[in-house]
Amino acid sequence: MSVPNLSIPPESAVGPAPPVALPAARRVRRGVALRGLLHTPSAVVGLAITAFWMLCAIFWPLFAPYSPDAQDFNALLAKPSLAHLFGTDQLGRDVLSRVLAGSREVLTLAPAATLLGLLGGTLVGLLTAYYGGWFDEIVMRVMDAIMAFPFIILGLLILAVMGPSTLNVILVIGFGYVPLTGRVVRAAALGVRDLDYISAARLRGASGLSIMLTEILPNITGPVIVEGTVRVGYAVFAVATLSFLGLGVPPPSPNWGAMINDTHIYIQVSPWIVLAPTLAIATLVVAINLVADGLRQAVRA
């Protein structure tokens, strides 16, 4: 009989489970989370690819055969060849070099925006979870209103107004992530807020700030880290999409989304100049999400 795969602990007794509870099939103890990550093949692949792109972002001048702005008027829209592994674009620039160079921008913007979003979200989440009441209601309504905007619409709106620039993109994405991260942090903090050790901290007269920082925050790092990693993946997604729509950092710096925006009309003629940055985005985003997923499983155990 194919009994559905279960992991209900069979000891549903009244007393506490013995310190080493009856294990589920794949349980990893706390503190061994990273090692557990390395046991998941998909996460390892993700880590490897992410590491590759991070190295690219830092060291691309060493790898790129040409300068990303160098134009070769004799080779416009050239097909892939030994000289240009991925061909050249409509201005004669080597596609490979541009793709490698573009990694730096994406991998500076996305983590910066995520960090901003995480900080803001953690602040909002902790405060609303701890104080509750009408403060929580009001802030959550405002957050909901911001979140209610489909993110691209919000980004579009703000960047159209403020004008595209590196700082603005970071601000927009970061600001847009505050409600999302805030929700996650708030939910995690709510799960902890009613536990007895928080009450015990109140009973020794600890201030709200002290409780939030020393009692609640250390106990929600798991979900926050997972959320942060997921957000980085989505930040890459957002940076690329905004660039594709023409709202990202303005040229001439090489930028995957903008590259696609400029060249997708040539897709019939020279598919590789479009596919190269496309695949770059795809691999980076998927890799980050694989790592995040691996982290989520490791943290949950």
């Binding site: 009989m1 194919s2 009994v3 559905p4 795969n5 279960l6 992991s7 209900i8 099939a25 794949r26 998909s42 309504r141 405002v142 909901d144 209103a145 911001i146 209610a148 905007f149 489909p150 993110f151 691209i152 619409i153 579009l156 709106l157 703000i158 960047l159 159209a160 107004v161 403020m162 004008g163 993946g233 989505y234 997604f237 690329a240 999409t241 594709f244 729509l245 023409g246 709202l247 696609i260 997708h264 897709i267 019939q268 598919p271 479009v274 596919l275 496309t278 695949l279 985005i281 795809a282 985003v285 998927v286 980050i288 999400n289 694989l290 997923d293």
Partner: protein, 315 residues
């Protein structure tokens, strides 16, 4: 249940109102303004100021807000300065096209992703599950234009199965469905990944629940247990989460319409944004917001109907 719905309705109204304020505040910070857009960049500041006064645009912001929002609600949408046409003639057609795309994506993707999610849950941790999980995760992560281009390359360019632009010469998407295939797929792929993973998680949770155990230990046939006890309870949270994340679809619309040159409201929005066309921008965003909130309300209604704990309040 009535109280629940009334509360949700009130919240939605409040959110829409807050959104309208946000939209207005953001757009009014615009350095470029409507008068400038009409007259062009070469206009002198005096001419711009004169036109602004003539259009009544130098009134204080709260007045402008009230004027705009009452106009919006009553259907007087004014003209688009950059396109020089009434906004109310621009939006409905485009909106319809976008809705066709979105609804098609939903109809095609939802059943597939639910089925795959359940399959993955039933074969948890085995090969099939790993494939589905990772595929779902990957699809979820990839921006729509990226998958759009990949699909275009494979099906349009390499295999020549599908046309590479999205509309036939006539311009009405419904008459030639093959033009819809690629945009619908590109739009739906992200959704597929998301729904499949949600459904998988939800089904796994239900499979491990005490009431599934009860059903199995009652000696019910497995198929019956899956249908009546597992699926019924796993679907409800998934469906409602899915419906309220239709916002992803809306964002994806902007991108997909741009990529495939599809005449939808997303494209209109982008144009308005890039050309600083404030009235068009504001109205487009608000319309999208209203549609989005309506879908949220529908999701809430569905949830209230399906969840007995809300439908029948505590006795």
């Amino acid at each position: 249940m009535a109280r629940f719905l009334a509360r949700r309705l009130g919240l939605i109204a409040l959110t829409l109102w807050l959104m309208s304020i946000a939209v207005f505040v953001i757009t009014e910070v615009l350095p470029g303004n409507v008068a400038q857009t009409i007259l062009g960049h070469s206009a002198t500041p005096e001419a711009v100021a004169a036109l602004q006064h003539q259009l009544g645009l130098d009134a204080p912001p709260p007045v402008l807000y009230v004027r705009w929002i009452t106009g919006f609600v009553s259907g007087n949408w004014g003209d688009s300065p950059s396109l020089q046409t009434p906004i109310s003639s621009l939006i409905p057609g485009r909106l319809f096209n976008s809705l066709v795309l979105a609804v098609a994506a939903l109809i095609v993707i939802m059943p597939l992703s639910i089925a795959f999610g359940v399959l993955a849950a039933l074969r948890q941790d085995r090969f099939v599950d790993r494939i589905i999980s990772i595929t779902g995760l990957s699809l979820m992560a990839v921006p729509e234009f990226v998958s759009g281009i990949i699909l275009l390359s494979i099906f349009g360019i390499w295999l020549h199965w599908l046309p590479t632009s999205s509309v036939a010469a006539g311009g009405d998407p419904l008459t030639s469905p093959q033009y819809l295939v690629l945009p619908v797929l590109a739009l739906g792929i992200v959704f597929f990944g998301y729904v499949a993973r949600m459904m998988r998680a939800s089904t796994i949770a239900v499979l491990g629940s005490a009431y599934t155990r009860t059903a199995m230990l009652k000696g019910l046939p497995l198929r019956l247990v899956l249908r009546r006890h597992v699926l019924r309870n796993a679907l409800v949270p998934t469906i409602t989460v899915v419906m309220s994340s239709i916002g992803y679809l809306v964002g994806g619309l902007v991108v997909v319409e741009n990529l495939f040159s599809y005449p939808g409201i997303g494209g209109l929005l982008l144009t308005a944004g890039l050309s600083h066309d404030v009235p068009l921008l504001e109205d487009c965003v608000m319309i999208i917001a209203v549609i989005y909130m309506a879908s949220n309300l529908a999701a809430d209604l569905l949830y209230a109907y399906l969840n007995p704990q809300i439908r029948y309040s505590q006795a």
